[in-house]
């Protein structure tokens, strides 16, 4: 790859409205601008991921015909439903130059709190609201400590991770909370035109987030805030409000995943969402987000989640132990981060 192809993080992350034709300087000189535009599109991070996904899909389909069964595909889809909102929230936080290690634990805590509320006889909508309030306050705590007091997000969210996971375990003494009302379970298991509700909700949510991030100024400002918070502040951007909002959104998205998970599985459990933060970070970084902030896209992270899900599904189909999941996710994270570091070094070198 030459040094200025649009596959570069910096160009790939540039949202469409500002550069609908993310042409390279080279592409500019090409007599047919449209050709340059297509080439540019093909060189984006997202295109590379689609290609990789196609390769993995074909390999799996060849190695194990059951991969293409409708039931298998649906199970991949339902598994992704919990990962996607978490990854979307993580993407926003990473774009803003932060990191949120607490999402998996917030998922667990939200599920437990919601299940307890339901078991105490609370109406379903109210119980869900209580769940979101729990997630939202955990996110607000993160946001307050990072944006207002300037504490390193890594440390803040490491702390809230332990608090949320510990709190969920204390509340349940480690037991499963089952016996949830049928109307609640219907949220996770209900279908519209054969598609489970959660999939519909999550797809809608991702589309809205993707468009807002690319085209809506209040959210689009996140790219400026992530690249250079000081310069963004002096350019009239309310950086701390954005950062605060980012952590709240990230926690609420984890709460949404919790509602889907507890309703589909018909129980609350303190260990739900275990290591979800790691998978979300891996997916987001695969999708073009960087630890130095300012880059990433919802579409990219979605593709990252899909790639991870396919690889893990391959392990299941090939009858390898599911306990490999942690190993694989960790490996993918390290590979993604290594690629990120390599890209950055190359960018600095020129």
């Amino acid at each position: 790859m030459s040094s200025q192809v649009p596959g570069d993080p910096a160009t790939a992350r540039v949202p469409a409205p500002i550069s609908p034709a993310a042409t390279t300087p080279v592409g500019r000189l090409a007599p047919f601008a449209a050709v340059g535009r297509w080439r540019a599109l093909l060189r984006t991070r997202e295109a590379a991921l689609v290609l990789l996904i196609l390769v993995v899909t074909s390999a799996l389909a060849l190695a194990e015909p059951r991969f293409l069964n409708a039931s298998n595909l649906l199970s991949i889809g339902t598994g992704m439903v919990y990962e996607l909102p978490v990854a979307a929230g993580m993407t926003l936080v990473l774009i803003l130059g932060g990191i949120d290690l607490s999402v998996g634990a917030i998922l667990g805590l939200t599920g437990v709190v919601t299940a307890m509320a339901l078991r105490s006889g609370m109406a379903v909508p109210l119980a869900v609201l209580v769940g979101f309030a729990t997630a939202g306050s955990a996110g607000a705590l993160n946001g307050l400590l990072v944006a207002r007091f300037g504490i390193a997000p890594f440390l803040v969210t490491l702390g809230t991770m332990s608090i949320a996971r510990g709190g969920a375990t204390v509340l349940t003494s480690g037991y499963f909370l089952s016996g949830l009302p049928a109307s609640y379970i219907a949220i996770g298991r209900g279908q519209l035109l054969g598609i489970p509700y959660p999939i519909l909700v999550v797809v809608g949510l991702l589309l809205v987030c993707d468009v807002l991030l690319k085209r809506w100024k209040p959210l689009h400002d996140a790219f400026y805030a992530g690249h250079n918070p000081a310069a963004a502040y002096l350019s009239g951007i309310n950086v701390s409000r954005l950062v605060f909002g980012g952590y709240v959104a990230s926690a609420l998205f984890a709460g949404l995943a919790a509602v889907f998970m507890t309703s589909r599985l018909a129980m609350g459990y303190a260990r739900f969402g275990d290591m979800a933060e790691l998978r979300a970070i891996a997916a987001a970084v695969l999708g073009g987000a960087s630890f130095s902030g300012g880059t990433g896209s919802i579409l990219g992270s979605t593709l990252g989640v899909l790639l991870l899900a396919l690889i893990l599904n391959g392990f299941v189909l090939l009858r390898l132990s599911v306990y490999w999941q942690g190993v694989v996710s960790g490996l993918m994270l390290i590979v993604a981060v290594a690629v990120d570091a390599w890209r950055r070094r190359r960018n600095e070198a020129r």
Binding site: A10, V14, I18, P25, A232, Y233, L234, G236
Partner: protein
Amino acid sequence: MTDSILSVERVSKSFGRHKVLDEVTFAVRAGSIHALVGENGAGKSTLMNIIGGALPPDAGTVSIEGRPVSFADPSEAIEAGISTVHQEFSLFPNRSVAQNIFGHREPADRFGFIRWRALRERAHEILSDMGVDLDPDALVGHLSVGARQLVEIAKALSLRARILILDEPTSALSDREAQRLFSLLGDLKSRGVGIVYISHRLGEVLQIADEISVLRDGRLAGRTTADASPADLVSLMVGRHIEDITPPRQTSPGREIFAAERVGRAGAFSDVSFRVREREILGFAGLVGSGRSEVARAIFGADGLEAGRVCLDGHALKIASPRQAISHGIGYLTEDRKTLGLFLPMPVRDNIVAASLWKLVSRMGWLRPRAIRAQSAAYVQRLDIRPADDQVETLNLSGGNQQKVLLAKWLSVEPRVLIVDEPTRGVDVAAKAGIHRHLRALADQGAAVILISSDLPEVLGLSDRIAVFRQGRLVTILDATTATQEDVMRYASA
């Protein structure tokens, strides 16, 4: 020449097809200062990197005391007695002055433990030898930029450098610190050190250099001595005469737009009052640390204003954040473009609209791509930003063009009051003249401009009136048409 401590003969260097240096020859005598001037991109840094061992030449030789040398890396050059003080320092802010001076060559006992007392004593020796009063135990991060520069030089001396290369050493120094540096250089000269001095500031080059070589487009454009005139140097650098570097000033400022009344902030400045009118450029002169940037940050809403008030069009205004300031039409071009001004990894276009994006959205906040594109293209053309492709990442632009992007970002806001802080620091002569023209044009269109600059000829040439700051107070306001550099300095230092 037998008395040359360093000589460079017919050195060439290309990057790809681009010839950066073309048979450049120059020599430095022991005990003299040889200045190297030229516009950005003239090849000064490449030449410096070749001498310092960071780059091999394609052709030609570098000799020390008549013996040709070839360095595989910078450490070999240091070994041979060549030390380079870079524009961006290579110090460790969390280490003491003494530790920075010795780097990893800290004196250690035979078990590898550092001998702290010896370290401190040797550092003290070097510093007092330089006539510098610096505490060897002070953390470098707590020092002023000027003091850090001295630490860099002490480091070079601890390496027993016989040849010292300085790259834009005064760009971040106050006048007083710069004068101290010059006397130190004079001292080093008398001890036989050969000094290569790279600077954009022609005044100081003419003040201290014994010989001056001018580079233009990779070639030696000329060599002269300190009795040349600044105009001669400029014409050698750009290959043509720049007749009037500063555009003519406006003779009839309009009504008052902006006023600060007895503003203050504890520990930074107090009791500062001034007014700026339409079509007027008000200069802020003073030493570094005299409170000029602090006043700017406070009236822009970046830091809180603790006393006094500001008025726009005669109405008192409460500005609590840069966001509010910008919405009132007040802009602030910050001095440090890399950390406070630009979003370097982002394309030029995103940078140009960064502060004016709110004007380029629909009522619901949706971005308007076509308007954004047009706005960016207009400013790329107007300011002659190169390359003229606003999709290029800003970090790939030269310093002068980055500074133009920063100016475009603020012009794009269409400010009624624009504060510019060191708007031409580290940019070449041509870009500087362009920035001056645009600032004057902005004023001519009816805006008020506040120009903070440590470059006295710039403040005197571009401003209509000059407010002089000293230790957090505005001491006087001078008429720029009659004031002299001496007047300003007298009020600024006293």
